[in-house]
Subunit: 144 residues, 2 copies
């Protein structure tokens, strides 16, 4: 898998290793295809200590392999970085914290990007990315 070579290379250039644990975290996130909470992740990897999960996720994030999303319920969700999965946005459930993927039409996406970049420059913000989310109630939490 090219994904794992990419991962190993990026970690190596930061002086870190692509251990079996990290490989499995990447696999779990790749297989899920949607952002997972830490409990979600640990449930799929029962022998992994929470502290190791957090530490490895942080490591993978700073290597640019995964992305951490602040969910509405205060906890975080993790997914593969956009370089690996393509740029997209999210639907956030304000009740249960669930996160679902969302893709914008190219035209709007580009226009949005240009505007946000210009505004970031004006605001003297070193913008590393933008986030465009819908916030509401998912199917499970919505009243019938």
């Amino acid at each position: 898998m090219e994904l794992h070579e990419e991962a190993a290379a990026r970690l190596a250039s930061a002086g870190q290793r692509y251990t079996p644990t990290r490989r499995r975290l990447v696999e779990i996130l790749a297989r899920a295809g949607t952002p997972l909470s830490l409990p979600d992740i640990v449930r799929r990897r029962r022998d992994l200590a929470q502290s190791s999960a957090y530490r490895n996720l942080a490591e993978l994030e700073s290597a640019g392999l995964i992305r951490r999303i602040a969910s509405e319920d205060g906890s975080a969700r993790y997914e593969l970085a956009e370089e690996l999965t393509g740029h997209h946005h999210h639907l956030l459930c304000s009740s249960c914290g669930r996160v679902q993927d969302l893709h914008l039409p190219t035209g709007l996406e580009r226009r949005l990007e240009d505007t946000l970049d210009a505004l970031a420059r004006e605001s003297r913000f070193a913008s590393v990315r933008h986030r465009v989310d819908l916030i509401g109630l998912c199917r499970t939490c919505a009243p019938a």
Copy 2:
């Protein structure tokens, strides 16, 4: 102040009171003009218990008077609802969690809104609002 009448009316119709504490919370948020964290708020109102702050903020939020924002650092920020301050977006500092206001040009805003609404419908999400944020480093946290 019309603001306080509005606040009192909304709370009243939900069977709640516009107590001095709540009034001061609204004043603090109005004066700040930018989203505040809970420590920020308590610092400006030293005699207020944290639990009361949280409870009142939740109350004011469900009355539609204030809005809670999930910051990048995992904690929450609070600001007056958009009905009172106008629709806008945010710049989020991924290092210190600071939040700064941002306004989009009307044309882009409207187009964005239409598209997001359509997508929400397709995704069977009951969308109550959207959020468009820039995430990066604020002036204080950016390396020189």
